[in-house]
Amino acid sequence: MSSVIHAHDHDHDHGHDEAHAHHGPPRGFTRWLYTTNHKDIGTMYLVFSCVMFFVGGTMAMLIRAELFKPGLQFFDPQFFNSLTTMHGLIMIFGAIMPAFVGFANWLVPMQIGAADMAFPRMNNWSFWLLIPAALLLTTSFFVPGGAAASGWTLYPPLSVQQGIAVDMTILAIHILGASSIMGSINIITTILNMRAPGMTLMKMPLFVWTWLITAYLLIAVMPVLAGAITMLLFDRHFGTSFFNAAGGGDPTLFLHVFWFFGHPEVYIMILPAFGIVSQIIPAFARKPLFGYASMVYATASIALLSFIVWGHHMFTVGMPAAGNLFFMYGTILIAVPTGVKVFNWISTMWRGSMTFETPMLFAIGFLCLFTIGGFSGIVLAIVPVDITLHNTYYVVAHFHYVLVSGALFGIMGGVYFWLPKWTGHMYNEGMGKLHFWLSMIGFNVAFFPMHFLGLAGMPRRIPDYALQFADWNMISSLGAFLFGAAQLLLVYNVISTVRGGRAAEQKQWDGADSLEWTHLPSPVPYHTFETAPVIR
């Protein structure tokens, strides 16, 4: 991904009138440390995300190794809880979100015909904030008491009682939140102010639209999370009792505030994937996206509805029946705009001249499996069902169908889709397809049985379980190991594509019609759209 053309690699002494606009990158580490180029920063986000994906993935493998058979195999329960907590936090804040910001950095300026992000220096700062946050999270395993073990939701009273690792986690989340807010400000400002002449809002590619809406969501809810964990910090160290029942506070308040952030967060992680899939499917169906305007409105509707459904994460805390009903109906309502999107993708494929290269395989995998995750979400939205299934493996199955086969498959499809544009080389198609099928099989073998385990009553976040759950757990672990191993193919394929391979064409995919395919060569030059394209 670093092989963008260094088209104007001369230095300032050249005396060119517009020398400042024509420089390539410096060499070595300082290029990456000081870079303000959106493509460099996008690459750094994606590499960071990949590293964190493997850190969080290693934790997932350890969790599945422990659950391979009943009884305690390797870890004590406290460490197991730390593993599940940090797996969640690292995958959400370290892997999925930075990956989408990486895509946004690479693609948003190119797709709207801008020269760069609106605030390039803040862009650099947004990325480099991730490093101390990641170090705080990962090194918290080595402090007395071990890493935070309260679940990624950091519910009190556990999170108020545990040791210094929770403080490290709170600080890390504050930093990550600040980074996300700065990134969102940059993205919104870029989209609203930097579009090329003629690039009206309703001409923007769907990926740009989904990120615009996602960035608004982030700005609305990240400060709420920051507020919640600030109050948590004060409860821990400064004698307040926001969430401490002994001091007149209420732990349930934390749940309300946390999930006011947490549910929109789910859409923050899925809307950009919708955008990626909305670009891949038309390209490989060789048809324009069906119902573009309805896609935009559906995305906005999902985002708005995401603010009024947080209570469905806490049906069991004893809310009034009217409250439960409100959150139940609100949640079920989200199926309407989501259904609009799913049917639009299917209609785009209908009678298209489809081919099934790796990005399209991941997009179709996304479509099938995300829909399963959506349906199990509707099941869980029904209050009496949720009261039974709450905190069981059914919930674990549901959100992994949304976040792995949804968000992650979207990311992987996007990586294969734009890799030729980023690197100038074609990836190994056979290996890409192998990666898809192993991921598809491994994922379903790992997570589909969790529906059965949850329905049978197996609780989540436990290192040991009753004998009746043994068979499906063993199968689930085998699937997880296959899925984990398959991801090495992705890394190998990406690295070998960056290093060389068959040259990619400017418009590598027949039906791709956004500006980066129609106006820019592969690989894209280091500086693009210094003169704005005119969009008709």
Binding site: A21, P25, P26, T30, Y34, P223, G227, T230
Partner: protein, 45 residues
């Protein structure tokens, strides 16, 4: 002198730059207001 790694400045006109800065500050103010309002709301209770 260190070479620029982005097009300098990214805004194409002074007006575009002014609007970008105004948008950025407005969004940052919204985020800070949400943060402060939420904590103050619960402190007040």
């Amino acid at each position: 002198m260190r070479p620029h790694t982005h097009r300098e400045p990214p805004a194409r006109t002074p007006e575009q730059r002014r609007r970008a800065i105004a948008t950025g500050f407005a969004l940052a103010a919204v985020a800070l207001a949400f943060y402060a309002a939420m904590i103050l709301h619960y402190v007040a209770h």
